[in-house]
Assembly symmetry: C2
Homo-oligomer: 356 residues x 2
């Protein structure tokens, strides 16, 4: 493959001049520039990014570590991260930690060896050693979705508390009083925050969240099924099951169907994380939608800011409630599922965004 020397020779200039042309350095004569460009074109020359990286000490590569690639939420996040990064001239190496701190550390190490310019992480746990080291050692790092308290790193995430309040209001308005939640791992921020928000929202309606209505899940479908089965076996089963992520909601759906119960007739179901599939289930699932695309973009922008030495602030974007049919139908159809449906209902709570 042709190198910069070949181009220099072909154009009758030095390698320095070729480099200057390629990097749009001002002091190059028009004549030299055109000869270089012609040579580049003729030889089909493409600069070697590896050599460039060695010299400039930047790879224009970002590392993205997510906890579960098979989860549609993270897939979408990864997609938007890659898109935004590409727009900014960065490539992305994705590492799938599979909810394992060990694997996560493995990925951090590899990425650091490859001298990525920055690290985007949705941490699996409270702080694996490599990750903490990297962050403290000054590797540009940004947390996305989940974060680790006490680590001074910008966080890009969605705040679901308002949406959870809207959800509880919606459920309460439908007459539901016994609400249960399938929680995520307590070691993750998203795991605990969602339970807290739910409990707080219930409190505003004078409702309790008893211990037996808090099931411990692990963000995987199977745990949703298990927890839901336990709920249904209770002497007084809940009227609503709220799953703290989409996969657990799926498990819940299965468990409910396996019991021969109908949704929302016999029991209502709602989920945190909205995904395209929830439109296609029967019934469509009411969910709290995170602005996933925007999260990905904001995360990349924050990270590149840190990389370029600008100080980046944390970003918190609001999640919003998307009412479908899995919790029951109010007097006037509230849904927002399929494409263009006029949402304005004459009844109270025209758009679920306020808090009581």
């Amino acid at each position: 493959m042709a190198g910069i020397k070949d181009v220099a020779a072909a154009a009758g200039v030095s390698v320095a001049t070729v480099s200057r042309v390629l990097n749009a350095h001002p002091s190059v004569s028009e004549d030299a520039r055109s000869r270089v460009l012609a040579a580049v074109d003729e030889l089909g020359y493409r600069p070697n990014a590896v050599a460039r990286s060695l010299r400039t000490a930047q790879t224009r590569t970002l590392g993205l570590i997510i906890s579960d690639v098979m989860n549609p939420y993270f897939t979408e996040l990864a997609r938007s991260v890659e898109e935004e990064a590409r727009a900014l001239g960065y490539s992305v190496i994705i590492g799938n930690a599979d909810e394992s701190p060990k694997l996560q550390d493995d990925h951090v190490r590899t990425l650091l060896d490859r001298r990525i310019d920055g690290l985007l992480v949705s941490p699996t746990d409270g702080g694996s050693p490599q990750l903490l080291d990297a962050a403290r050692a000054g590797t540009p790092t940004v947390f996305v979705d989940r974060w680790i308290p006490g680590v001074d790193v910008p966080v890009v995430r969605a705040d679901g508390s308002a949406a959870v309040r809207d959800l509880v209001a919606h459920l309460h308005g439908l007459g539901h009083r016994r609400l249960a939640i399938i929680a995520g791992p307590a070691a993750t921020t998203t795991g605990s925050e969602r339970v807290d928000a739910f409990r707080a929202a219930l409190g505003a309606y004078g409702l309790e969240l008893p211990e037996e209505y808090v099931g411990q899940g692990d963000f995987q479908a199977e745990s949703g099924r298990r927890v839901t089965e336990a709920f249904l076996a209770l002497p007084e089963p809940p009227e609503v099951v709220f799953a703290a992520d989409n996969l657990m909601a799926l498990g819940a759906l299965d468990a409910i169907r396996a019991r021969g119960l109908r949704i929302p007739g016999d029991i209502a179901l709602a989920a945190f994380d909205d995904i395209p599939w929830f439109v296609h289930t029967d019934p469509p699932v009411t969910a709290i939608a995170q602005p996933t695309r925007e999260l990905g973009r904001a995360a990349v922008r924050a990270l590149t800011a840190v990389i370029e030495g600008r100080r980046a602030r944390s970003v918190t974007l609001p999640a919003r409630l998307v009412v479908r049919r899995s919790c029951g139908e109010p007097g006037a159809p509230p849904g927002t599922a399929p494409p263009a449906r006029p949402d304005q209902s004459p009844t109270p709570r025209p758009r679920p965004r306020s808090n009581p």
Copy 2:
């Protein structure tokens, strides 16, 4: 960050010796080795992969270009590719072509600039210029899932024809005679092959595949919906809709529901590509499952073989039919759907699962 020179200094040896220790070169004294190792440990030294790549002309990085990351099939493929690659000491840079040849070329160019060791591609079309150039120029390349006829590159894919025959047998046994297919883009091999296999299988039962029973989709959900609506508007609508990929099946599901029809009572549905979600829909969807994990692993192994100069052969793995309930319940269930579920029901439709 500490470099190899620092290690050499700390251990009182030359950089050559340090390098030899790190690369397990035989001729290093036990004494020197231990001193180097100690120094490495103390300084927390990690070799700079960029410098190493420049010198050795290999990056131990693979490029993976897929046509749609949001499609669960490709997500799973990407996951298994990354896993196998990691096991072999490679990192993976994923590019999402989004079914656009232009974007695909863009990714090829970037990856080549980064001097990846090999390219794994599921081509979006019949041959975008950059991709063809790369393959012909000798960049180690392997096609996965889809391929480009006439290009001499190993192909790792699943053969669905036997499974399609099984499916048609299954449908025929259930009494269905009017079978329609939602096809993928003709420019992709998977798009045309599946239609061909379907037509051939029908032929074996003396059935035709009339023109109006072949809908043109694009592997996206919306096209599945559109095509299915057209099918249902036909004077004589099909009894079965077979979608050539999972997303289009989803669209079909929607269209059928929107018409108020029941599956499989009013119309049957089957899909190519099995995904976890098909277990959770109502009813669970009969599908043709590709050995996705194995495809990913085989693709990586083939690619690394080419990289290391060994000659790699193409691999074709069989897909298999997974019978669920979206086509009707046969007298004796042939299927192999969920783990260990005694599916044999004496009476039809034992559990309340239909919708009014």
